[in-house]
């Protein structure tokens, strides 16, 4: 019974997550009713503009809440109830079962330590003997396309380019064979050709290890190219969940449609860009009812009455009163 449960459970289940932070003026809401699921071996995109709460959501999966924040709802990562877990359980979770890759690899690696020490740290903490850990690390470096992997183990981070260092971070993140990998804008700082290579490495490793991947990005094209399913966030809420095949061709939420209309594209015909008025909002600044209504071309009086419930529409789930009016 227990065995069956562990093989079918999700790598990550965020259910009805709310986050508020206390300030002198009172409670400031950051996230509201966020539900995100990542199955084992699945790649799930979390897209949105600045202030949408995508990074906060990803960090919550590791129990990394902003100082003074209060969380409600439920977050289960690799089987652990994160919001209820103590420090020891969380440390164990971060060391071995859930890993994270950040935008800037140089800010996330100790510049004074050798690459090899960084890569074997998690394995050693999990009790792998030194020699075996080193052998696994060299093997991983080879898999992410680092030349002379054994030599690379003895070098320091500054001896690698940004793209190479991000490959090393991915190798390190997957060294302990985690159930879940959180990647927060992992290729945003890289050149386009390097981005393509790093994404290729990330996908190949994730597939072969069966890791669930939560891919946080502002880049809609990248999310559509990489992910199986995509969540769109706006002002601290999920406004749409879609499979990536239908995401770009049949958006269900006016915000998703507006984002696609505002994005210039390289492939296909070039239509005119349609800018959305105003700027992205955080949850604290958002209007009552639907957060997007002050920028939405289809909003009317009804949209102010309450936050629209999430409901199925086509192959998507959407928090909008009238998704049928969104043109494909």
């Amino acid at each position: 019974m227990l065995v069956r449960e562990t093989t079918t459970r999700d790598a990550l289940a965020v259910e009805g997550l709310g986050l508020t932070i206390g300030t002198r003026e009172g409670a400031l809401p950051l996230l509201a009713d966020v539900t995100v699921r990542v199955g084992r071996g699945e790649t799930v995109g979390l897209v949105g503009e600045s202030g949408s709460g995508k990074t906060l959501t990803a960090r919550t999966a590791l129990g990394m809440l902003p100082r003074g924040a209060r969380a409600t709802g439920r977050v289960t990562a690799a089987g652990l109830d994160v919001l209820a877990a103590g420090r020891t359980d969380l440390r164990d979770l971060r060391r071995t079962r859930v890993s994270m890759v950040f935008q800037d690899p140089r800010a996330a690696i100790n510049p004074l330590r050798r690459v090899g020490d960084h890569l074997t740290e998690g394995l050693r903490a999990a009790g792998t003997p030194r020699r075996e850990a080193a052998r696994r690390a060299v093997d991983l470096l080879d898999q992410v396309g680092i030349d002379d992997p054994a030599g690379a183990m003895r070098r320091h981070p500054h001896q690698f380019s940004g793209g190479m260092l991000q490959r090393i971070m991915i190798a390190g993140a997957l060294a302990t064979e985690p159930e879940l990998l959180l990647a927060d804008e992992p290729t945003t700082a890289l050149d386009v050709t390097t981005q393509a290579e790093v994404v290729g490495v990330l996908r190949a490793l994730q597939r072969s290890h069966g890791t669930g991947l939560l891919f946080v990005t502002h880049d809609l094209d990248l999310a559509a190219a990489v992910c199986d399913r995509i969540y769109v966030m706006y002002a601290g809420r999920i406004v749409e969940e879609a499979d990536s095949a239908s995401f770009a061709v049949a958006p269900a939420h006016p915000y998703t449609r507006a984002l696609l209309d505002a994005s210039p594209s390289v492939h296909g015909d070039q239509g005119p860009l349609r800018a959305i008025g105003g700027r992205p909002r955080s949850l604290a600044e958002a209007p009552s009812g639907c957060s997007f209504r002050d920028r939405c071309p289809r909003a009317d009086h009804d949209c102010a009455l309450g936050v629209p419930a999430t409901r199925p529409h086509g192959t998507s789930h959407v928090a909008c009163l009238r998704p049928e009016q969104v043109k494909p």
Binding site: Q195, D221, A225, A245, A258, P264, Q270, A275, I276, P280
Partner: protein, 268 residues
């Protein structure tokens, strides 16, 4: 054929033994927009900085409105700045945090076209209005504005002295998609209204496709391909241009072929 507003001839810039820009030449017609596309280390930003006078070229010529610009004297810098202005990715670093946005926009006016305070104020109001900033935004400090508003303020300050050429170095790269589209629309409008020319430096092919008519592709300091932007993107002739285009994510992205193409190119 109209006289080009910007002529760059055999530009070379060396830093010690490293050649960052290696024999770059191009022309820009009045009212036109030229893209400079490339990755980090391609020399595109160094080229932009030489155009703006932030770096002295090792050799080669830059002529703005038919006049060769060189030298670092105060007079030479002012002459250049009247004709050519530059906009950076992060306008925050180029504003004095203690001045209001309106005061910052007034600065180039005082420097280049001194006049009565009331005239300057009226011109600043007109400029802020032209870039879509409210009076209230004008009275704010740069730290109180959003990224999009700051970039609007940078544009207002750059066009204050009515330059002929605007060099935009990754000017929309740090903005959210919805705000980026607003700034691109503003740049379109300005060009149509004033006949200003753009040198649009960017790593983002989609943005360059939208904002320019012609483009050059740079790699290792050299221009490897040039032509009408739409033609470059649809029928790239150089394998590096093709690799750049294929690297832009899309459904059915063939990552293995990309990796092969890149290795083949690096081996050349």
């Amino acid at each position: 054929m109209t006289e080009p507003v910007l002529t760059v001839t055999s530009l070379v810039k060396k830093f010690g033994r490293v050649t960052a820009v290696d024999g770059v030449s191009f022309e820009l017609a009045p009212g036109a927009s030229l893209g400079i596309v490339g990755e980090s280390g391609s020399g595109k930003t160094t080229t932009a900085r030489v155009l703006a006078g932030l770096e002295e070229p090792t050799s080669g010529e830059v002529a703005v409105a038919g006049e060769h610009v060189r030298g670092r004297s105060r007079r030479a810098r002012l002459r250049r700045a009247r004709r050519l202005q530059m906009i950076f990715q992060d306008p925050y670093g180029s504003f004095d945090p203690r001045l209001t946005v309106a005061e910052s926009v007034a600065e180039p006016l005082r420097l280049h076209a001194p006049g009565p305070a009331a005239d300057v104020r009226a011109r600043v109001d007109a400029l802020l209005d032209q870039v879509g900033l409210s009076r209230r935004a004008g009275d704010s400090r740069p730290g109180e504005l959003s990224g999009g508003q700051r970039q609007r303020a940078a544009i207002a300050r750059a066009i204050a002295v009515a330059p002929r050429v605007l060099v935009l170095d990754e000017a929309v790269a740090a903005l959210d998609v919805s705000v980026q589209a607003q700034i691109l629309a503003l740049l379109d409008d300005l060009r149509r209204e004033t006949g200003i020319s753009y040198v649009f430096v960017s790593h983002d092919l989609a943005v360059v496709r939208h904002a320019t008519e012609t483009a050059v592709v740079m790699r290792h300091g050299r221009i490897v391909e040039r032509g009408p932007t739409e033609r470059l993107l649809r029928e790239p002739a150089h394998p590096y241009t093709r690799l750049l285009i294929d690297s832009v994510p899309r459904p059915g992205w063939d990552l293995e072929r990309l990796a092969r193409d890149r290795r083949a190119l690096d081996a050349l």
